[in-house]
């Protein structure tokens, strides 16, 4: 089965080629959507086969590399188109193809009747192929192709409604910000390659070879530089501070795109990349601290913004940024498996929520369209009381919300609790631990609050939609609700594969599963870790209880403000207008970036155009032309047009040249 790993990215590629080249002619939506979904589903089946086979092997044999074809061989440099299958990439391909298939299926219903239906599925398949290349690549260059490919698809899909200016702008913003990150990724790649090559004559970009040679890396120093560069790449792709502002804008794309790319898969690429190179990152304590701090800061920062947004998808977008912050926090405190665990559970519940919001928007859109109203179908202030008309959507959404809030026994509880516990108890960051934990806990509280605010505003209370069209609201078709139900189930039970040892009901499958991948990193970490403080089980139980309690507090606040005492939020905003406005406007980060980077760049560009290009470059070019013209203006009088003048010149030339040789 391992030998067939190349099939996994191939199927979506075939789907992309068919839909991309012939989709316009096929026209039949069922065929186009069917091809797209079938292709990714076949990848899923192959992935399942690989997972099954891997489970059957002893842990130390669970690494397999497959060279598809030699790609670039130049001197010392060697990069093959090759795939690496190990427990980490196995988890990732399962998530990508599994969630991907569900979202493809969902898209058939959601995108029904849209213009460019084939285009959507072609891009979606291309995206899946790139993402699979990213997670399967056995060297950094193949990973980079995937890395760029998903960025491109993200751009194409955010700008799917390209006739809308806001969508085009959002696409450009996402692309440019990703490019900033990619630049970091490349510099990191070069640094690592150069260091290994020049110091140890190991010219490689292959993960396995780097891993084998990683004991040569120093602690800190060049590794800090390289890993910080890689981390910059990760912040771009995974929407962390400082490069997070593109993700909320990316909600301009169709909702399935937000679910697949901007929640479940692409944005987790940064987390995956750190996991893949955990043995390099752990070598730099400084980078680990930066990762943890950025993660925690992003978690709380995005969570606060999420509390004041009214657009249902924007709330989810900030929630995604915040949850990604949790993942990076996990990576930064050395709990790599917990980060991957959260990545997985997050993929389930966040995809479910996005698809649920898509279902709501779909329904709202149809109702409003029917009544010829121009209200915003995504604005939660127009919703309310939808649980009665859309029971399946409501239940799945509610389950996912419980999961993200961290309520036992839903999946989010296990992963988030593990992250918080590791933030508190990890041996790397000393006194910083308590701050990291505190930040994470408060962010978790905010998470519970804004998610339940969303649920209450959308599904509870009075229906605030225009009464004329109320009767047109209805539950979505099966093709939409089936993925919701599957994801809802996964969001509920997905956490059991990573149950903490403390509970003891089930062994912690995922940690053991990922152990071979992160073993080396933990070994390196142990060399500089603080002497392991012993934390009592009571403390762990206590903190676990505390995190649930925090979530419940958040839920209660939301319940009070948005169900019981509905006037309270308005009073709150009146009391603290400045705070409200700051949060509502996302802490003015966009404006700050405009001021700091965009406007200076524009001014610089303007200068280069008006100053440098027009005066210097054009000046030189025109100047040369003018000089030539001036000289030729003088010399053209030599061209008298009279034959005897030309004959004279010729004869003179002959005489002079002959004379030179004769009298020489």
């Amino acid at each position: 089965m391992f030998d067939n790993v190349w099939l996994i990215p191939l199927f979506p590629l075939i789907g992309f080629l068919i839909n991309g080249f012939f989709g316009k002619k096929i026209k039949n939506e069922a065929v186009i959507g069917g091809i797209g979904t079938l292709m990714i589903f076949m990848s899923f089946i192959v992935s399942c086969g690989i997972l099954m086979q891997m489970i059957g092997l002893p842990p130390e044999q669970r690494v397999f590399e497959k060279v598809i074809f030699p790609w670039i061989h130049s001197g010392n440099f060697k990069a093959d188109m090759a795939f690496l299958v190990d427990p980490l990439s196995a988890v990732m391909i399962m998530v990508v193809t599994g969630v991907g298939s569900l979202i493809h299926l969902y898209s058939i219903g959601y995108m029904h009747g849209e213009e460019g239906f084939y285009r959507f599925f072609a891009y979606l398949n291309l995206f899946c192929m790139s993402m699979l290349l990213l997670v399967l690549g056995n060297n950094m260059l193949v990973m980079f192709i995937g890395w760029e490919g998903v960025g491109l698809c993200s751009y194409l899909l955010i700008g799917y409604y390209f006739h809308k200016k806001s969508a085009g702008d959002a696409a450009k913003k996402a692309f440019v910000m990703n490019r900033v990150g990619d630049f970091g990724f490349l510099i990191g790649l070069f640094t690592l390659y150069w260091w290994f090559g020049s110091n140890h004559n190991i010219w490689t970009i292959n993960f396995t070879e780097i891993k084998a040679a990683s004991h040569l890396l120093p602690y800190g120093g060049v590794v800090t530089v390289a890993t910080l560069c890689f981390f910059l790449g990760a912040t771009g792709k995974s929407a962390q501070i400082p490069l997070f502002t593109w993700l909320p804008d990316a909600m301009e794309g169709p909702t399935p795109v937000s679910a697949l790319i901007h929640a479940a898969t692409m944005v987790t690429a940064g987390v995956y990349m750190i996991g893949r190179m955990s043995f390099v990152f752990i070598k730099s304590p400084d980078t680990m601290m930066v990762v943890a701090v950025i993660g925690a800061a992003t978690a709380i920062f995005a969570a606060t913004i999420g509390t004041a947004q009214n657009d249902i998808k924007r709330v989810l977008a900030y929630s995604t940024v915040s949850q990604l912050g949790f993942m990076f926090l996990a990576m930064g405190v050395g709990a790599f498996w917990a980060g991957i665990f959260h990545l997985m559970t997050h993929a389930f519940f966040k995809a479910c929520m996005f698809l649920g919001s898509g279902s709501v928007i779909h329904s709202m859109h149809h109702a409003l369209h029917h009544g010829h109203l121009h209200d915003d179908p995504q604005d939660m202030r127009n919703m309310g009381g939808l649980r009665k008309v859309m029971p399946i959507t409501f239940i799945t959404f509610f389950v996912s919300t419980l999961a993200i809030a961290g309520i036992f026994p839903f999946s989010g509880f296990f992963s988030k609790d593990e992250i918080l516990w590791k933030a508190f108890s990890n041996p790397y960051h000393g006194s910083l631990n308590i701050i990291l934990w505190g930040t994470g806990a408060i962010a978790a509280c905010f998470t519970a609050f804004y998610m339940f605010r969303l649920v209450f505003m959308t599904f509870f209370g009075e229906c605030r939609i225009n009464p004329k069209v109320k009767s047109h609201l209805h539950e979505s078709p099966l093709v939409i609700t089936i993925p919701l139900m599957v994801l809802g189930v996964l969001a509920t039970i997905g956490g059991f594969i990573g149950m903490p040892k403390l509970m003891g009901a089930l062994p912690n499958y995922l940690e053991h599963w990922l152990d071979p991948v992160f073993e080396l990193a933990n070994e390196f970490g142990a060399t500089y870790a603080h002497a392991g403080e012993h934390h009592s089980h009571a403390l762990e139980w206590g903190l676990m209880g505390l995190s649930v309690a925090i979530a419940v507090v958040g839920i209660m606040i939301a319940l009070t403000l948005y169900v019981k005492n509905t006037g309270a939020p308005a009073r709150f905003t009146e009391t603290f207008p400045a705070l409200y406005r700051a949060v509502y406007n996302k802490w003015y980060v966009d404006e700050l970036y405009d001021f700091l980077f965009v406007n200076p760049c524009k001014a610089f560009g303007q200068f280069l155009w008006k100053g440098f290009d027009v005066i210097v470059v054009d000046g030189v070019v025109n100047g040369v032309a003018n000089v030539v013209m001036g000289f030729s203006g003088i010399f053209r009088y030599m061209q008298s047009g009279y034959i005897y003048n030309y004959a004279f010149s010729m004869a003179l030339g002959v005489v002079v040249i002959l004379g030179y040789y004769i009298f020489k």
């Binding site: 047009g641 005897y644 004279f648």
Partner: protein, 100 residues
């Protein structure tokens, strides 16, 4: 032959006279005749050397030059007639269309 130098000097003089004619006259036909004069000066050199060195190569060259001169005469005079049709003159002063 002992008198080679004499022939070559005469040839040089004829050639120089032809050159002066080409450069100074303005009647196109006279210029044409001066060119023929220069060609003939070269022919004389060829024949003189041919005789002196005992080869016939030079004389065969002269025959070829005569062929070229004949062709040149045909085309050149046709050109002059065409030119005259346009300009009512064959003064090279009137041929100044390549002027700046």
């Amino acid at each position: 032959m002992e008198n080679l130098t004499g022939y070559l000097v005469v040839s040089a003089i004829l050639f120089a006279i032809g050159t002066i004619g080409v450069l100074t006259r303005k009647n196109a036909i006279v210029i044409f005749m001066c060119i023929e004069l220069m060609l003939n000066a070269v022919n004389l050199t060829f024949v003189a050397f041919s005789r002196h060195l005992g080869h016939f190569d030079g004389q065969i060259f002269v025959l070829f030059i005569m062929v070229v001169a004949a062709a040149e005469a045909a085309v050149g005079l046709a050109l002059m007639i065409a030119f005259y049709k346009n300009k009512e003159s064959i003064d090279v002063d009137n041929v100044d269309m390549m002027k700046w």
